[in-house]
Symmetry: C2
Subunit: 529 residues, 2 copies
Amino acid sequence: MDPTRFETLTRRQFVNLVGKAGGFGAAYLVMQGLGLLPDDLAHASPPELEPGSGSGSSVAILGAGLAGLTAAYLLGKAGYDCYLLESRERAGGRCWTLRRGDSVEERGRAEQVCEFDHGLYFNPGAARIPANHSAVLGYCREFGVDLEVFVNANRSAMFQDDEAFGGKPIESRQLHSDTAGHIAELLVKATDSGALDEALGGLDRRRLLYFFKHFGDLDGNFRYRGSPRAGFEEFPGAGLTPGRGRAPLAFEALVDSRFWYWHMGFEKRFEQQATMLQPVGGMDRIARAFESRLAGRITYGAHVREIRKRSAGVRIVYGDKIGAEEQELEADFCICTIPLPVLKAIDSDFDAEHRTAIAAAPYINACKLAWQSQPRFWEDRLGIYGGISWTQREITQIWYPSSGFHGKSGILIGAYNYGNLASEFGNRSTAERAALSRDGVSLFHPGMESMLSKPISVAWQNIPYNESAFANWDPRTREQIYPILNRPDGRIYLAGEHLSYWTSWQEGAVRSAHAVSAAIDAHVRSLRA
Amino acid sequence: MDPTRFETLTRRQFVNLVGKAGGFGAAYLVMQGLGLLPDDLAHASPPELEPGSGSGSSVAILGAGLAGLTAAYLLGKAGYDCYLLESRERAGGRCWTLRRGDSVEERGRAEQVCEFDHGLYFNPGAARIPANHSAVLGYCREFGVDLEVFVNANRSAMFQDDEAFGGKPIESRQLHSDTAGHIAELLVKATDSGALDEALGGLDRRRLLYFFKHFGDLDGNFRYRGSPRAGFEEFPGAGLTPGRGRAPLAFEALVDSRFWYWHMGFEKRFEQQATMLQPVGGMDRIARAFESRLAGRITYGAHVREIRKRSAGVRIVYGDKIGAEEQELEADFCICTIPLPVLKAIDSDFDAEHRTAIAAAPYINACKLAWQSQPRFWEDRLGIYGGISWTQREITQIWYPSSGFHGKSGILIGAYNYGNLASEFGNRSTAERAALSRDGVSLFHPGMESMLSKPISVAWQNIPYNESAFANWDPRTREQIYPILNRPDGRIYLAGEHLSYWTSWQEGAVRSAHAVSAAIDAHVRSLRA
Ligand SMILES: Cc1cc2nc3c(=O)[nH]c(=O)nc-3n(C[C@H](O)[C@H](O)[C@H](O)COP(=O)(O)OP(=O)(O)OC[C@H]3O[C@@H](n4cnc5c(N)ncnc54)[C@H](O)[C@@H]3O)c2cc1C
Ligand SMILES: Cc1cc2nc3c(=O)[nH]c(=O)nc-3n(C[C@H](O)[C@H](O)[C@H](O)COP(=O)(O)OP(=O)(O)OC[C@H]3O[C@@H](n4cnc5c(N)ncnc54)[C@H](O)[C@@H]3O)c2cc1C
């Protein structure tokens, strides 16, 4: 390629040339490198496809989770003929909300039917949206999905560890404040000793001591003697009742406990930092908003059984759940958003490299359990409004609702765990799960466990059409497997949360759909050029 | 007093005896010491006064802010004849919400009329409720005042200092995360150097290093090289776009900046920690709820001019605002909730000690300014949902709304300052304030200041019937002046936010009213005994 000529090419023309030269897979990677795909923007707008650019081209989209819905919506607007095949009787996939009368079917377990009172709901999959997930939030804005604040970090929520603090639940405010206090005091000591002289260079030492004092709320002698930040033994009131502070937890006890493995840093993660949001009324409001814009495009109960390549397109074989009748769909392109633990068992024409990669991609398990509670004892008695209590026991988390405050009842998430703990929890009967959760709740709220009723649980690894919770790349597989899956196999493009740097988030599914929609559109144009 | 007899007395009988012996003032202090007043409870229920216990007794309550309203509500339920005198045409005092058509009158300034679109509002006084302010929240529950989360700490909000970081606004996530990272690295160095050996005692050093690593998100070599917690230079996306982290801010720059004077610790304060709440639709929903339960008990436009003692009761002289006609109210007791900067100018029979204390109590000034903005550019472009941006400039704070997300317009608080800065700001014309605020907003949101319209500002020190923002005790005045004011002067009891350990909070006003209501009830019973 003549470099002079190259310079006068538009970037898009260049991509088209690469497409012809090296197959579209090569062009796709180059596009990403050039930033022509939209997913490297902090505030991702959907790619702008020319209206009508897809007319005459058809796309089979496998799976109507958020990835499939987004792709169908975008490509549809550009004139593509999109056909969504969805094995379930509902769209949304892991963007799912359970309400009275809804059922959960796990492999090998009796069906659970949700018995909550009307108006209550539980999001067994996606439940919160970080404020920086601009692609998802962009659709919420576009579709008028109302949002409210989701409370992730609540200083009145607690941490409990059977092997620390005598097993007693400790308020988050105490853990965080006493940690900061001790740390600040250690820094003062280290600074005074001269041990940090080299590291601190020319920093004004007096100013630094005040910085540490503010950081940890040290006393006038730069020692940590407890702080109101950590809460009160006796609450201050009016008149002559100044209250009494809490004695600080010993630094040894804090370090010996396990609160810092997970709990301490959790809310500091980029994707868990305030502000977090949730759709008012349930996460599936987002899926419903897409669905209503895709009327007639989605075939429900369409269980994909075979994914075939044709000379210039794809052929998809699908059937209803009991497999009585098989049907076929032919299309020019395919976007496959089927989670990989499901996909690997489907007959397909994927090339060897893709096939191996699909089978080897790491996933992680996760479970949630929800209760109806009446009354909302955590608000009345403890002033807990939203947030998460953590325990080292199997249930791991308790989530308090972030809205509906002071209502007569509410949904308490009584377990939310990952990985090995989730595998164990998921292996239990639903009754055993509920019993474990009840025990867990009673650790934090003794006597209150009797207010809980109507438990319902979801172990994602047992859920057909998911078979796990979400992708869980590690540095090695991210390097070796992930790039393969991001390369189209002929006219089949893979998409979904797993093909993003936001795995385990809806944002990943949506951005992946953006990227793949733009790529197919470029592919189509490269064929026409 | 015979100690044997003492032991057989109920605590209440004992108090009655003290009351007879030493005047009720003495008994009141003893009651507090014995914990008979309700305000030392973490989750304050109102004192339980016997229904009917007040029948035949009358109470003049001066001021229908939250303290006066609470006292009238409680005492009224116990059968007291309560008469609320309120100088304004509305109840609520500093629990106040401005909507279209409402006006603000500051001394020496033209009236401002709120021009916001319908449905928008601004709380110029109280705006947020900490989840541990159980007395206020208890009334919200009792009265069915709907609550929603108020976002105080938002990691996407910013801090700006003309003398730091080249004047550039820095995201909260970066300030907090880089601070924690550098601090953790310093601790690792100090630990390795042995300088902390004495302080660390037997703590497992390896475990400790991991504790620090988690604290600051250090790398594999226990060094801080930046962290996703601090945000991204390039946002991670789908496909092959892992994103790129931000280079950490230098520790020197962090220490040299002034973010840690106020901003760093702000959200860590007990009363500012998550979860914070707000009434849906405006803070005055709380005042309105009380008001509707006190129909006929409140005389509006009743400006108290004199507070007189009678042989066994009080006489209050009040008039309408222009002072045309004076009226009198006689009652057995008086609860005076008039803010002290106002009270000190009122003719009264207070004894010398009270008079001096009233004049000497320290208060602090504060101002707020609000804009209507269309669109809500902070959400669309920056993903800021609620929270506070801080600047070292005079306006000090910008508050983003915590609800109504993605609406077509919203209220942006464009200034909220205290102390000297508030005094300066309040001295300006309302047009100058708006211009300063516009400048301030443009520091964070360049170009967006043109979206702002309909400014309205409140400088509390210029507001008649307040004359300042709230009490501001320091250790000396808390010791020398505060106890005097908590002692009744004959049958006159002082109440309000200033007579609590929650000054500047509604909780203080409400708890003070609880305490004083219980005290008057005890006083009445002591007179009957
Ligand atoms: C426990 C849990 C908690 C989570 N929490 C959050 C959170 O708080 N916030 C957040 O943003 N995200 C969260 N997520 C992640 C989020 O739910 C997912 O990243 C996102 O919904 C995935 O969308 P997807 O379209 O890639 O996959 P899916 O939603 O799984 O969609 C795939 C679709 O393919 C269909 N399908 C499968 N097999 C076949 C077949 N053979 N034939 C036809 N169709 C088939 C499925 O029925 C499904 O509808 C959570 C997920 C889980 C499991
Ligand atoms: C800028 C600002 C921000 C605040 N933020 C918060 C917050 O976020 N959360 C929170 O909980 N609290 C907040 N507060 C504090 C809270 O508003 C007060 O603590 C509380 O409302 C005080 O109640 P009160 O009844 O003691 O006094 P007030 O509300 O001031 O009531 C006193 C009443 O007396 C009346 N009065 C005065 N003089 C006379 C007279 N001569 N005759 C008759 N009546 C008279 C007044 O009109 C008024 O109605 C804030 C206050 C300010 C100023």
